[in-house]
Symmetry: C2
Subunit: 404 residues, 2 copies
């Protein structure tokens, strides 16, 4: 039998989706599984986007331009301008979600064996994208005790070597909810300029900021034009994850030229998703304000209730819609599976993302889970009750057995 | 300034799209540019697919399952069964076009520096996908004199070494129109089994077969289950390129397990495109019969007219909707650009794909162009007249200058 690739063999399974088959089995048994594992918002997609889909009147569902239509990129420029980000249509490549923007970025800037420094915990799929591109992820640890703020800059500098191509952060952060301060960003900017690296920033949660925190885009840092690569997406902003529309934004011409070649090879971003995304941007600003308010209320409810459970530590997210929760559990991979296979409370259970998969060093994060607050407040309240009951019912010997 | 990647720098630009900016400039000057360069059919997308888009009634445009919905994969199984291809839903991963299916395949089966044998000329983007995955393309030449049939099997075997992971063909072939015979496929099957390689077959033009030729899918070859990987797409079949829905099909469990991990990392195929694709499959078979008849008429018209032009050699395609045309021109890259920048016939010109980009060895194919017959017969007739006038008007010294 022919051999598959090493990366295909060794690739970790997504912590967000790896328990899916157990969830399916639980549902088949009639159990109501509440999905806290995945950032699939329940918020309505903007009416203008849905209307645009319903009034699609072309006879041929054709390819669009590989880089995305000029009209769409112009609209993106106007959107960015409202966030003090000054870009031109040529600085934007429309991609199939932020996922493709990240893969394309790595294709553009890394050679096999190069290294990428990422503060951990980080969005688990960064690991897969890096593996697909033959790039090694070098994590630097941030901790729940300091609310996952940036590790000391000299610790990061200590990880830089001749193989390092970029520092890669997510701001606001998934899974931690950390919003990078102006100082943290400036420190990173100084560092990448000093060592001639790229600074890649995934800003797909830009709008979802709480408690008066301020989001600073990497593209607002002056003097960083050749170094900064921004990853963006419509998925979370407009609750249209299925559109699969994101973009890669950079003022670095070499990056954009290389990116266009990769973009041309895969022909075009999804035409219908782009059509809907363009219309979504006509939605009044009140839509986004309302959505942010909804997430804030959910965060407050969820975090407030979790904090009342003995033995649990919760990091209070200032951005995005995830929180990391430290449980009195040795191995949340075992616990999360047990929730789906062996537990229910009044016919209901929760699916959570074990946090080890968000760490480069898998031994960290074994007692943490990630919860996405993309469900309504009633469902979130129910979830916390289920989690509390589960923690009481959980036979901790299970974890020990898994380790023996 | 930070350095970009070697592959990003060295990547060839798609021969199909690289002249786009000259076409845009020509159009800005009021010239009617007839696109013979790209396989974007003008055929109407099935009415059922368009209706499905217009009646999309979800409030949230959400992610779907990473592997594609079970309902869709079951429908694909029924479709394949009609072509004597027996597969189960678990043998199918839905992808963002055939492009992603190929990238995923290479991610699953190759390590950096591995080799992939592909008969040339081949679909130019295979080169880019291979480069992105760090894989070397090893071409074996097929020629217009033998109507681009498979090169002798011992020539192919001579290219196999310890680095070879797969043989990769497109059947029916883009750009040659070659339909692989049962014997050619059996020879390849014997070869990949002997050397424990994969046989990847891109079959996106499966339906478009002419003159009584018969298409044999790689998945109908018994005993090849562990070796065969099929790449498929809805783009050409249902004239819905913009849906960006394809799939990777294999009975090899290791490949499918690895593929699922890559699929999960990019979350899901485009939801709207999948929704439309599922509906397209409800279209009666008469739709595809009609489309195939249309392409046959176009092929006959185009090839018949081209054969009357002195100095031109045309390969008669038995499948797909492209033909390779050998022109009395030294360098069709220069000629194709000249057509857009310096020529028009009654305010019209043609955009063609220079064929050098379809060769691993770029020195071959310099006198060939690829024409896609995806336009109506009147436009094709006009195109041939324009091409004929252009060949007369073309200052052949241009090519010489470009070479000096």
């Amino acid at each position: 039998m022919p051999k598959i690739s090493l990366k295909g063999k060794n690739l970790p399974t997504s912590p967000i989706r790896k328990l899916s088959k157990y969830a399916t089995d639980a549902k088949a048994k009639g159990i109501d599984v509440i999905h806290l594992n995945i950032g699939q918002p329940d918020i309505d997609t903007p009416a203008k986007a849905l209307q645009a889909i319903q009034s699609f009147d072309k006879n041929v569902l054709a390819y669009g331009p590989s880089e995305g239509s000029l009209a769409y990129r112009q609209k993106m420029c106007s959107y960015f301008a409202k966030h003090n980000i000054e870009v031109q249509p040529d600085d934007i490549l429309v991609t199939t979600g932020a996922s493709e923007a990240i893969i394309m970025t790595l294709d553009c800037i890394t050679n096999e064996g190069d290294e990428l420094i990422i503060p951990e915990p980080f969005y688990a799929n960064y690991d897969t994208f890096a593996a697909a591109c033959g790039v090694k992820v070098v994590p630097v640890s941030s901790t729940i005790d300091s609310n996952f703020s940036l590790p000391p800059i000299d610790v990061i500098e200590g990880k830089i070597n001749a193989k390092t191509r970029a520092i890669f952060i997510c701001n606001p952060n998934n899974p931690t909810g950390h919003v990078y301060s102006k100082k943290e960003l400036n420190d990173l900017a100084t560092l990448v300029k000093k060592h001639d690296l790229f600074l890649i920033v995934d800003e797909v949660y830009r709008e979802f900021i709480y408690d008066g925190a301020v989001h600073h885009s990497v593209l607002t840092i002056s003097g960083l034009e050749e170094h900064a690569i921004l990853v963006d997406s419509m998925s979370k902003r407009y609750s249209m994850c299925g559109a699969r529309i994101g973009c890669l934004v950079s003022k670095n011409k070499e990056v954009m030229d290389a990116g266009l070649k990769f973009a041309q090879s895969r022909l075009s971003p999804p035409t219908l998703g782009l059509h809907a995304s363009e219309a979504a941007m006509d939605e009044p600003l009140s839509y986004l304000n309302e959505v942010t308010k909804t997430y804030l209320e959910r965060r407050n409810t969820l975090v407030g209730l979790l904090q009342q459970i003995p033995g649990i530590t919760v990091s209070v997210p200032l951005g995005a819609f995830y929180c990391l929760v430290q449980l009195p559990i040795d191995d949340t991979d075992v616990f999360a599976k047990w929730l789906l296979t062996s537990f229910n409370h009044n016919g209901k259970t929760v699916m959570v993302a074990p946090a080890s998969g968000f760490y480069g060093d898998r031994s960290l994060g074994k007692s943490l889970i990630r919860i996405a607050f993309v469900l309504n407040i009633e469902r979130l309240k129910e979830s916390v009750i289920i989690l509390e009951k589960a923690l009481v019912a959980y036979p901790h010997t299970l974890t020990l057995k898994a380790h023996s």
